[in-house]
Structures are given as C-alpha cells and as structure tokens.
C-alpha cells in the first residue's frame, strides 16, 4: 500500500486525519513542522505528501519550494492543505510547486480522490 507523509502541526487534526487515512489502508508517516517534513520526505521516500501550509519552523509554502527544488524529492507529488479556496491560496499553492491543493476542513472522499489520481500518475518514479 502507498506510503503517505502527513505534515500537520495541529495535534488533533494530525491524529484525526492519520487515523482516517490509515483506516483507508494507507501507510501513514507523520511530521509536525516543515523542517521535519523535509527530513522525513528524504528518509522515508513517501509516495505522496499531504502538506499543511501553515506550519512552524519552516512553513508549508517554503517546504514545498524546497521539496520541489531538490532532485531527491522533486518527483513526490504534494497536496497542499490551505485555509480556504476564496482567499487565493489555491494559486499560491500551485505557484509554490504543489501538485494539487485541498481546503480544510477536509472532506475525506474528495481528498481521497485527489490522492488516488496523483498516486496513479505514471510519472512518479518515487513509487514503491
């Protein structure tokens, strides 16, 4: 089963989302800030990263840019989780190099669809 790196600083959201993803059969790896997210992306080589945008230490925008700038992690698809659609976060997230975005609070079926699409994309050499 695919390995997902979830980078989320809020404990409840991290707990909830990781449990729900695990129930759907994903192997979930956790990170609590942008710095740890980048480290885990290198160590764990996940198939996909779900990245919250407002993170301590290194925020999601910067983390996405760093992940996409590094040859090691460039191929890993990123779904950005942003505040909400109207505020222009969508454009900013895509501009930072994310492959897709979703808004919080998570609607699980929608997020699962997006994950499934990105995971099935053939040009993902990072796949297990």
């Amino acid at each position: 089963m695919a390995k997902i790196l979830l980078v989320e600083d809020n404990e409840m959201n991290r707990d909830m989302l990781s449990r729900r993803l695990a129930r759907k059969g994903y192997d979930v790896v956790l990170a609590v800030d942008g710095r740890e997210g980048i480290d885990k992306a290198v160590q764990e080589n996940p198939d996909l990263i779900v990245l919250d945008m407002s993170l301590p230490v290194i925020d999601g925008w910067e983390a996405a840019r760093l992940l996409k700038a590094s040859a090691e992690t460039r191929a890993i698809p990123i779904i950005a989780l942003t505040a909400h659609a109207m505020s222009g976060d969508r454009e900013a997230a895509l501009a930072a190099g994310c492959d897709d975005y979703d808004t919080k609070p998570i609607e699980l079926p929608r997020l699962l669809d997006k994950m499934a699409f990105l995971l099935s994309r053939p040009a993902t050499p990072g796949g297990v």
Binding site: N10, M12, N13, M16, L17, R19, R20, R23, S54, A83, H84, A85, M86, S87, G88, R90, E91, K104, P105, I106, L108
Partner: protein, 744 residues
C-alpha cells in the same frame, strides 16, 4: 574827424548790433528754456518707461512664482527659488538679502525655512523666532505688513545698517509664515512695492497651505492603510484560529459516525450529524465573513484566466445536483453555443453561481431551477461583449420590500428565514460584490409565490473591462456612463467617490447632464472626448492635482474655452483665477451658489430652455432629442395644465405646443398663458396634426409665432423644420448661437 565822433551810419550799425545782440540773447534764452523743456520731457518719458519696466518686472516675477508654485519639487527647494525670484526685483537686487519663515503648527513661533545672504550669526539667532519677538515675530503676531527704515534700525548680528519689509503669509486668515526682505538703509516705503510683496506672499501662503494639506492627507492615508492592513491580518489570523478547532469538531464527528455505524449503534448517528452540520455552518459563516471583509477592504484580488463558459455551467450543475434533488426540484441548464470563452476569475464566478443556485434550491420545493448562460452585445456605457448568467426558480419568491434589502449583508427575507432555511445571509452580498469586482452587475426580479430570477451581467473579458478603472477604489462603483444625455453638459472631476455621487445626483435633479471622472487623467481624457459645457474641478487629488489639470486644460486649444469651476477646501482664489479658472468655490460646496455659477455659463453658452407641450410621448421624445442636439435644455409637459404649472416655477425661451391634448388643450393653454404677465417674451410654436379652421386660426392669431403641420411629411423633414423654426423664432442668447444662425 575825432575818434569818438560817430557818424550817423555807424550809429545805425551800432543800434543794429545792439538789436541783434538783444535778439540773440532772447533766442538763446528761448533755446535754453526749450532745451530745459525737452530735458524735462525726456525725464518724464524716462519715468514712464521705468514705471512700465517695473510693472513688467513685477508681473513676470509673479507669473514665475505661480509657475514655480505648481512644480513638484521639495518644499525647501521651492522656498529658496521663490525667495530668489522675489529678490530679483531691481530695488531688492542690490542687497539680495531675505528669508522665508514658516509658522509652527502650534502657532507658537516661526522657523527659518529659506534664506539668502544672511550673515551666519543672524541665521543662527533666527533659526527659531518666537511670536512677537524681533521684527519678523512682530509682523507674525500682528499679521500685518511691517516696514522699518534703515535709519531706525541698527545693524544686528553682523549686518550692515538696512531697512526691511516683513510680510505675513496668510491663508484664509491663518498665519503660515513670514517673508522678510532687506532694503538699503535710505530706502523709503513704497505702496507699489508693498503690493508686489503682498501678492508674492499670497502665492507663497497658498503653496505652503496646499503642501501642508497634501502632507496631512498623505499621513491620514498612511494611517488608514496601516489600520486596514492590521484589520486584514487580524481577520486572516482569527479565521485560521477559528478554523483549526472546527476542523477537529467536523472531522471527529464524521469519524464517530463511521464508528457508530460499524459498531451497530445507528441511533447515535443523527446526533453526530447535527454536530457535524452545525460545525459546517459555522465554518461557512467564518469563510463568508472573511471574504466579505476582504472585498470591503479592497483586498480581494482577481485571478484572471481564460475558460470555456459551457464547462463552468456543466461543472457547477454537477456540484449542485444533489442539492437540487433534496427538495424534489429539477435542474434545467442551458448554455448558448455563442457563449464561448470568458476571461475572468473562475473561482469567484463558480462561487457566485453556486451561491445563487443553493439559494434557489433552498427556497423552491417540487419546482424547477434553471441555469442559463448566453453572450450579449455591449450596452451603452459598457465596453466589449457581456456574458449573462441567469438563475431562475419557481420558488416562494420575494416581496418588493424584501427585494430592496436582498444584497445587504446579514439580511435574509426575514429573521425566521434563517432558522427555517439555514444559510449565512451573506451569500448574495458576496455574490453582488464579486460581480462588481469583475466589472459587472447583478439584478433580481421576483414575485411572491411565482419565483425569482437573478441575472449576472459580466464582461466577457474582465481584464479589458477593468483597465479604465485603474484605481481599486473605483472598482466598488458601478461604471458611470461616459456620455451625456441632455441639458447642460457638465464634467465633474473629483477623486472622492462620495463627492462625485452627491454632485451627480444633485445636478442631475436640476436638469444637468453629468459625467464624472475619478482622477485628473481621466478628467482630461473625458474633457477632450466629450467637450462639456463646463467642468467642476477638485483641487486636492492624488496623482495629478487640480492645479495641474487646470494648467493642462488651459494649455490645450481643444478644451481651453471650457469654463472651469474650481472646488477646494483651501482658499486660493487668486491662484485659481491666475491659472484661468472662471470661478473658485470652497468646499463644502454651497449648492445654491454652485447652481448660480453654473447658470451663468448655461445662459452664456446654451441657446436656452424649450418647453415641449405634447401628449404623445414618442413625439415629445423625438422633439427633445433633436433640440438637445442643438444644445437646448428641454422640459416636457404632457398637457396644457402641466405646462402652466411648470411655467409657474421656471422660465422657457420657447414653447412648442400641440393643440389636441387631454385635460387642457393648446387653445386653452394659449388663452390662459396670454392672460399672464410677461407672456409676450416667450415665443410659441404650434406643432399640430389638426386641420386648422378659420376660427381656430383666429383664436391663435397674434399669439403664436408659427404653425407647423406634423404628419404632412417624413419624420426627419418635420424635425428639421421644427429645429429651423425654433432657431429663427428665438433670439439666440449666446454669440455662438448667433454665429450659427448666420452660417445657417
């Protein structure tokens, strides 16, 4: 013969000699007197010449000062150059010593703003002068021009003996500074010099005042911007803080629902759903408030992209279908093949359509909800094609009272609606704001029990439609019509939206046709494009200010003849007139005064007011349009009684009268009108389709100027005939109209 014997011939010669000497002496004296007279004459001529030269020097120095006062240079620089201009006058040039002091804001004293050739010790001791102290402080305290002769003043702080003028710089009675110039010790006070110095001081005071206000405005704007940014940041942070716990509430309640179902505890599910839906509602509210506050703060940006309209319609329909089904409604979508592509903000368009559709679903049961999209040509005042999106339902509809409040925030049709139907009460407000943001508009039609139709009319290319309104502040406003309709044509240039709106509404009511411009640049463009009858011009505007606009207008032959009325909070009449303004009014504008001023130019330029008395609306319209083309101001009355009422309160320069009208016909009107005092001054043209009998003619004879038959020939010919008759029956008031008449 002795030597002292003089023979008679010699005696004659001697007498002749004496005679000649006498004559020579006389003529020499005459010559001397003549020469003296000539010299005197020359001196007088020299005096005249000198006076003329002085006058020319004064005028050119004041002109140069005016020019300088409009330049965009730092204040220090400006004061120094102004001082140099003043000191260039011949009677000051030998010393060329002087200074400009600026009054402190609290009025306690003066600080040295600029100086020329003052000894250093003097500069140091005069860097700040208290009110009443010294000569300058004295002039400042008295607010009067002070002159001191050199003899009465010992050289102070290293200066040689000198006299001085100290002139207060006053703006609307408030002291803004002092202009000090030194004169030679023996120099005497002179009224012409005082006149020059006072004029220069007026100009300087105006400049200082203007710059002071601009600076205040700049600071106020900076403070407001900072406050606004703080508010936006606060809202963004706040909404994030609110959303985070909500995520948990919604997420865990969803998880628990799944758990409860798996564990066979279905009875818990409805309660868990309530938690979840309450959480979602709260979230919607937070998002909506954030959106709205961003729009209101002018911080909602547009992300323009090109997309297929049909695709959006399909997409939105798919999203909304479950919602439609909930109340057993059916969805009918239609997208014209011509709708094509749009350049706009896809997210906001989707959001607007979803808001309208979810609204329709909420208030409709077992009915039909239609989503329609089509392309339409530009209407007057619009540029480029429009896309029209309509959402129509067969729901409960709204009363006119409810309709009036529909786009206001937090107002649903009534307080109970929210409980019954849910929703934030902000969806329509946000939708309306989004439409305006994209340069479009939204309208609504509704009848209780029948249904409601919302129609959005958006530019097909939002990027092109947005370009003329360069300032984001203007985005909230509906685009003004950039053409005149009728009446005296007036261009209002003011950066303040409220001021424009007030002027437009007030003057339109008074029969003016008003076009507004929100900036100096826009004003210049419109002035050139529309050539209005008059311009009102605000002085204080960001970017290109009123003075610069005035100067540009007057330097452009195409528009230089348009009378310009300056409106300003600052009293700088002289500067206004010097630059070619015809009137100068201070803000807040006194309406009566403004009307009186405008009336002056209406009378001078326009041919006058025509009253069209005619019961057929279409004919009235035609006549009006034709006369307005000739720059007449046109009033309409649908019968004789209405016309008489109108004439009670207004003056007409010509009356065009139909004969066959309900209530009071043309014959009766003429009878009543001629019974009035002063009726003779107003020519009446009868325009009628009636075959006139001899008796009819008798009744009208002597009271009407001319009778025109309508219906006898084509429209155009008829209208031309009316126009020509109006032209020659009425003595035109303005020279322009006379010239036209001669040409005709």
């Amino acid at each position: 013969m002795t030597s002292n014997q003089v023979s008679p011939p010699v005696e004659g010669l001697l007498a002749e000699r004496d005679q000649l000497t006498e004559e020579i002496w006389v003529s020499r004296r005459a010559a001397a007197i003549a020469a003296e007279l000539v010299v005197e004459q020359f001196e007088k001529m020299g005096e005249v010449q000198r006076r003329l030269e002085e006058k020319a020097a004064v005028e050119s120095a004041l002109n140069a000062l005016l020019q300088l006062s409009l330049e965009d240079v730092p204040q220090d620089d400006l004061l120094h150059r102004a001082l140099d201009l003043v000191l260039s006058m011949t009677w000051l040039a030998s010393r060329a010593q002087g200074a400009v002091f600026l009054a402190e804001e609290d009025g306690g004293g003066l600080v040295l703003g600029a100086q020329r050739s003052m000894p250093e010790a003097m500069q140091a001791s005069c860097s700040r002068v208290r009110l009443g102290e010294c000569l300058c402080g004295g002039a400042a305290a008295m607010r009067e021009l002070v002159f001191v002769e050199g003899a009465g003043m010992p050289g102070r702080a290293g200066t040689a003996p000198h006299g001085a003028y100290c002139v207060p710089l006053l703006s609307s009675g408030t002291l803004r500074g002092i202009l000090t110039v030194y004169v030679d010790a023996a120099h005497r006070r002179d009224s012409a010099e005082e006149g020059f110095l006072r004029a220069a001081a007026d100009i300087l005071a105006g400049v200082i005042e203007r710059r002071r206000i601009v600076e205040q405005l700049r600071q106020a704007t900076r403070a407001a911007d900072a406050a606004n940014r703080a508010k936006s940041t606060f809202l963004a942070n706040m909404s994030h803080e609110l959303r985070t716990p909500l995520n948990a509430i919604i997420g865990y309640s969803e998880m628990l629902q799944e758990d409860a179902e798996d564990a066979g505890q279905a009875e818990l599910v409805p309660d868990l759903q309530k938690i979840q839906s309450a959480g979602r509602h709260l979230l919607e509210l937070i998002n909506a408030v954030l959106d709205l506050s961003k729009v209101e703060a002018g911080r909602m940006d547009l992300y323009l992209e090109e997309f297929e309209v049909a695709g959006v319609i399909e997409d939105v329909a798919a999203v909304v279908r479950p919602l439609v089904a909930r109340n057993a409604n059916t969805l009918d979508t239609r997208c014209d093949a011509q709708a094509g592509r749009m350049i706009g903000d896809l997210t906001k368009l989707r959001q607007a359509l979803l808001n309208l559709l979810s609204n329709a679903c909420k208030f409709t049961e077992r009915g039909t909800i239609a989503l329609l999209a089509s392309r339409a040509a530009a209407r007057e005042g619009e540029s480029g094609d429009r896309l029209v999106f309509a959402v129509r339902d067969t729901g409960i509809g709204m009363t006119p009272e409810q309709l009036a409040r529909i786009f206001q925030p937090f107002t649903q049709a009534d307080a109970g609606t929210s409980r019954q139907f849910g929703g934030t009460g902000l969806g329509l407000t946000i939708t309306e704001r989004f439409c305006r943001l994209m340069g479009g508009e939204i309208s609504v039609e509704s009848a209780p029990g029948v249904g409601t139709t919302f129609t959005m009319r958006l530019p097909a290319d939002v990027s092109a439609a947005r370009q003329p309104a360069a300032r984001p502040a203007a985005l909230g406003q509906a685009p003004p019509p950039a053409s005149f309709e009728g009446g005296m044509r007036l261009l209002v240039i003011d950066d303040e939206a409220n001021a424009r709106d007030l002027m437009q509404r007030y003057l339109a009511k008074e029969g003016f046709s008003v076009v507004t411009a929100a900036s100096g640049q826009e004003g210049l463009q419109l002035a050139r494009a529309l050539h209005p009858d008059a311009i009102t011009l605000d002085v204080l505007m960001p970017g290109m200010d009123g003075w610069a606009v005035l100067r540009t207008l007057k330097a452009d032959a195409r528009v230089a003849d348009i009378p310009v009325i300056m409106l300003s909070m600052v009293d700088s009449q002289n500067l206004g007139y010097a630059l070619g303004a015809v009137e100068y009014l201070t803000k807040p504008v006194d309406r009566e005064r403004l009307l009186a001023v405008l009336d002056k130019y209406r009378r001078a330029d326009a041919p006058g007011t025509a009253l069209v008395v005619e019961d057929d609306r279409a004919v009235r319209r035609l006549v009006r349009r034709r006369l307005e083309k000739e720059r007449w101001t046109v009033a309409e009355a649908e019968n004789g009684r209405v016309a008489l009422d109108w004439l009670d309160r207004h003056r007409a320069d010509v009356i065009l009268l139909d004969l066959m009208m309900p209530e009071m016909d043309g014959f009766e009107f003429v009878e009543r009108w001629r019974a009035r005092e002063g009726w003779r001054s107003t020519p009446i043209l009868v325009v009628t389709a009636k075959e006139l009998t001899d008796e009819d003619r008798l009744r009208l004879d002597g009271y009407v100027q001319k009778i025109v038959r309508k219906g006898g020939h084509g429209h155009e010919e008829f209208m031309n005939e009316v126009r020509d008759l109006v032209r020659c029956c009425v003595r035109p008031r303005g020279a322009q109209a006379q010239a036209e008449e001669r040409k005709g």
